[in-house]
Amino acid sequence: MMVELDTLLDELARRHARGEPLDVEGTLARAGDRADELAPLIEAFLARAPRREPTAESLAFVRSLDEPPLLRARVAKSLKVDDVVDVIVAECELDPEARPKVRRYYQQLEGGMLDPTHVAESVWAAITRVMGRSRTLLSAPSGPAPAAAPMYRADALVVLDEQLVSRAAPEPRQSDIVDALFLGEPAD
């Protein structure tokens, strides 16, 4: 027997008043074929109901969603960037002199600036081993980076020239093994 929509809405409103999870999906499921009628009623209720302050836990969870998955995983294991870079350099048997470049690439990968599908299997093997998580989880797409404009800090009168603004333009470079590992390009 299908529960009346008014009853379902009343239950949801009482849960809201008590500060409990609303379980909107469950409520809609109980409405059966009339879920499409109930959904706008719930929306109307939520639009008018007093706004509930998020709990510290829920706020932390939502904020954590802004962080790229690699970053989240690394911090969760109390690993520093250098810890991961050390493992990549060692397991990929790279020259220690390549370390700064590996570090830069790893940070770009972690921040979502590199396409994870272009990164070599050997690099991912090192990363997944030290992180203890699967590549699928670690390379899952994250939310967009903050779209805020650059901010500059200066002591004196600033004339923002084109060179400064356009610094993001890629610099000509000679590919090497590290480029190949992170960009998928063949080493010369």
Partner: protein, 214 residues
């Protein structure tokens, strides 16, 4: 291109004269050291930035280590996943590019002894203030962080917030008070916190522990 992570310097900060031409243009381009915490004079003495404390405590809970000097580079890179690079920024001390999770510090400021390390530390702390407090809600227009923005009468809330954030991140009140009780010497305090002497002086002043810096 990475910024230095050298040990905290102990030499006094470099102080340069203000530029008259910039003054005539309405810009306060006071000395290199002045830029650090001078805006704190415009802030009530009990103004605090809890997000700076939360960030520092989160770092310590995650990675442990010494609280002082605050590992601001590691907070940026290891905890927040930001990159720090040095670059030729002309007159700019630093720059935050949120979409690249990138903090740029002026490479030229790393070329006159150890003092610039302290400058970089505060620049990074300042940009972290922008990242934590503003990065996700800023308008499209660039924000220029000039020394004028940091002056006492500056009407630049974002810059002031970033400065307060930087000061509170690098110089926690309790640690400042404890260190000052132990040895009330500005130079040693500044060296201990790896900030400029003037930064330390303004911080002390904000707690009513010392006279207003000249």
């Amino acid at each position: 291109m990475r910024s230095s992570s050298a040990s905290p310097p102990t030499s006094p900060p470099d102080v340069r004269p203000a530029r008259a031409e910039a003054d005539s243009a309405g810009l306060d381009t006071s000395s290199a050291a002045d830029y650090v915490p001078s805006d704190l004079t415009s802030v009530p003495t009990r103004y605090t930035e809890p997000r700076a404390h939360e960030l520092r405590e989160r770092y310590l809970a995650t990675y442990g280590g010494d609280e002082i000097p605050v590992p601001v580079e590691s907070i940026a890179e290891d905890l927040l996943g930001l990159r720090i690079e040095e670059d030729d920024l002309g007159e700019c001390s630093g720059m935050l590019i949120p979409s690249e999770r990138l903090i740029l510090v002026n490479a030229a400021e790393a070329m006159s002894g150890e003092t610039p390390t302290r400058r970089h530390r505060f620049t990074i702390a300042h940009e972290l203030g922008h990242w934590v407090c503003h990065a996700k809600s800023m308008a499209d227009a660039p924000t220029y962080c000039r020394s004028h923005d940091l002056a006492q009468d500056a009407d630049r809330t974002l810059e002031r917030e970033a400065n307060v954030f930087g000061a509170e991140l690098l110089m926690p009140e309790e640690a400042i008070r404890t260190a000052w009780r132990g040895k009330p010497d500005v130079g040693e305090l500044a060296a201990y916190f790896a900030v400029s002497a003037l930064a330390a002086s303004w911080r002390l002043y904000s707690f009513d522990l010392a006279e207003r810096p000249a």
